[in-house]
């Protein structure tokens, strides 16, 4: 290892240890295990590690939105349809109680078998999905319900009908709605945070990523196809644009990392849900009660500051 690389690593360690990485995790019995996870995150994320996280983020046994919903929300009531055209099943929405509070939930939903995957369109929403999300956000805003979004999509669906129905505009307007909300908002990337389709529902007061989630501007395969002109170079592309949680935290894009069970969320859905619930509730506890105007101002200031230039 060169001295320069060593310096870079030290710098990152210093930054990481300075962040409230596991804020809100109160499960004292888990402390030792969480400490080990912290150590893992602190280690320099190698190219191989990054690719391992891409694979875990896409693991077909990984818990999806509705797996979490049934474990963390009481009295969940699903809300269907965009009130205009149809009900996009790649994005689910509803109301439920979290730790005694009514919250609105919006999340991408993938399927586990062929039939379900087709029905959910592999978690790739049409504009109708984002329109459903927007109307539920606005409803939550009217009633003062905090909003929780779970992000897990390879991207917004790239199809002829999706374009004709205004995919780009829907994603832009969904972000604009989130920018205006006066209720607390928490977004968690629970698997794939794929580009515009992900950020459309992730302009939140607190944006979190699970330990093995990825968040990126383009899929590794897409990036490889464009820059390397070879989709099989996806591993190289992922190593270059670093979609893993530790790097997103370091770049100031997310506010925290949600720990997963040892080996990944797919190994124990109950445990993964308990860890997620704990962190989300603690963030909501901090946000509830803050005046709407202050929430909006802080949210906008956070995104205003994103970017690195000279």
């Amino acid at each position: 290892m060169t001295t320069e690389a060593e310096l870079g690593l030290r710098d990152r360690l210093a930054k990481l240890s300075g962040v409230k990485l596991l804020r809100g995790t109160k499960l004292s019995a888990e402390l030792e295990r969480l400490q080990r996870q912290l150590e893992r995150l602190r280690a320099d994320t190698s190219d191989e590690e990054i690719w391992k996280r891409v694979e875990l983020a896409r693991h077909q046994e990984r818990p999806y939105t509705l797996d979490y919903v049934e474990r963390i929300l009481d009295d969940f009531f699903e809300l269907h349809g965009d009130r205009s055209r149809l009900d996009d099943q790649a994005l689910v929405a509803g109301l439920g109680r979290l730790d005694g509070r009514t919250v609105a939930l919006i999340g991408h939903q993938k399927g586990r078998d062929i039939k379900e995957r087709t029905k959910r369109n592999f978690g790739m929403a049409y504009p109708e999905g984002y329109r459903k999300a927007m109307r539920v956000m606005q409803m939550a805003d009217r009633h003062g319900f905090p909003l929780l979004t779970l992000v897990d999509t390879p991207g917004a669906y790239p199809g002829v009908a999706a374009e004709q129905h205004g995919q780009g505009g829907a994603i832009a307007r969904s972000q604009a709605v989130m920018v205006r909300l006066g209720v607390p908002t928490v977004s968690v990337v629970i698997g794939e945070g794929g580009s515009g389709g992900a950020v459309a529902v992730a302009v939140a007061d607190r944006v979190l990523m699970q330990e093995n989630a990825i968040y990126s501007v383009i899929s590794p395969e897409g990036c490889a196809a464009i820059l390397w002109r070879d989709a099989s170079q996806a591993k190289k592309a992922a190593a270059a644009f670093k979609p893993d949680a530790a790097h997103c935290l370091e770049l100031g894009v997310i506010d925290g990392i949600v720990p997963e069970p040892e080996g990944g969320a797919h190994t124990d859905h109950d445990d993964a849900a308990a860890l997620l619930r704990e962190v989300v509730v603690s963030h909501l506890d901090e946000l509830v009660g803050i005046p709407s105007e202050d929430l909006r101002r802080a949210r906008r200031a956070k995104f205003r500051a994103m970017g690195v230039f000279a």
């Binding site: 995919q167 950020v199 501007v217 990036c223 995104f303 690195v308």
Partner: protein, 287 residues
């Protein structure tokens, strides 16, 4: 096609279509019209605002030339010229990002893919945020996001409308997740501008795809597009490869977007300046 020179009144559209199809894939001279095969000298094509007088094809326009076409002569004052991209990821594909940036700056003479400043159009004050596709495909990274945001803030402070002209392939991959974050950043900027009572007029030039369409471009109070401009979230190649659907001939073009209700008007380039002036008068409440 030299034998046709003497018979220019005969409808040769079929031959022209074939000629255009034959040329696909082959490198065409930038002054040769991909629509009808007509060829122009540099001074000719500039004088026609880079619109083919034969078939109406709109050639791409560089950022500064666009400003010269739209603004009153000598009225444009550029600002924020000092901003340059950093390389937070030390991104390296086949070549380092910093090398690509340096090369783009040398070849275009620009600091990044967006030019901002103040101007007047038919004596009406406005701010301009104009993209240049020649700088890394007009991609939006931290600098474009920051420049656009500052343009919104200045527009709100000065109470002058903001006119954006987009031409971009989308978010700049070399800046990774930070490029994606320019979507919510520019969305916040437009919303703040709107809260301050400000106006954004969004002009969409060919091509405007991906992250641009999924952020500030779509949030204008008025959306204008040039004829034949591709404006789609996903590009035609990606859609064709992913879905194996047969794409309609006008897939993602401004004409299709007008039909589906996503833009307010298609404005041919020679009418763009008077159209903007008209809108500036309407929004400015000029009697």
């Amino acid at each position: 096609m030299a034998h046709m020179a003497a018979t220019d009144r005969i409808d040769v559209s079929i031959e022209h279509k074939r000629a255009a199809a034959d040329d696909q894939g082959a490198k065409q001279h930038p002054n040769t019209c991909p629509g009808c095969g007509s060829h122009y000298r540099d001074d000719e094509i500039a004088q026609y605002l880079r619109v083919c007088p034969q078939c109406g094809h709109h050639f791409p326009v560089r950022g500064l030339e666009r400003i010269a076409q739209l603004a009153d002569e000598g009225s444009f004052v550029e600002d924020e010229t000092g901003l340059r991209s950093a390389d937070p990821l030390q991104f390296f594909d086949l070549r380092p990002y910093v090398e690509r940036l340096a090369e783009a700056e040398v070849s275009t003479g620009l600091g990044d893919a967006m030019i901002t400043g103040t101007a007047t159009i038919e004596s009406l004050g406005c701010r301009l945020a104009v993209m240049d596709f020649s700088f890394m495909g007009g991609s939006m990274g931290s600098v474009v996001g920051e420049k656009f945001t500052r343009a919104c803030e200045a527009s709100a402070a000065d109470h002058v409308p903001l006119v954006s002209v987009s031409a971009s392939g989308g978010a700049r991959m070399q800046e990774g997740i930070l490029a994606l974050m320019q979507l919510p950043k520019t969305v916040c900027a437009v919303e703040e501008l709107h809260d301050a009572g400000g106006v954004l007029i969004s002009v969409i030039a060919h091509p405007t795809t991906g992250g641009l369409l999924a952020s500030f471009v779509s949030l204008g109070d008025v959306l204008l597009a040039e004829p034949g401009a591709l404006m789609s979230f996903a590009g035609p190649r990606v859609v064709a490869q992913t879905t194996r659907e047969k794409l309609p001939d006008d897939f993602g073009l401004s004409e299709s977007n007008l039909r589906f209700g996503h833009i307010d008007a298609i404005v041919p380039r020679p009418e763009l300046r008077p159209t903007l002036a008209c809108l500036l008068r309407l929004f400015g409440g000029v009697r």
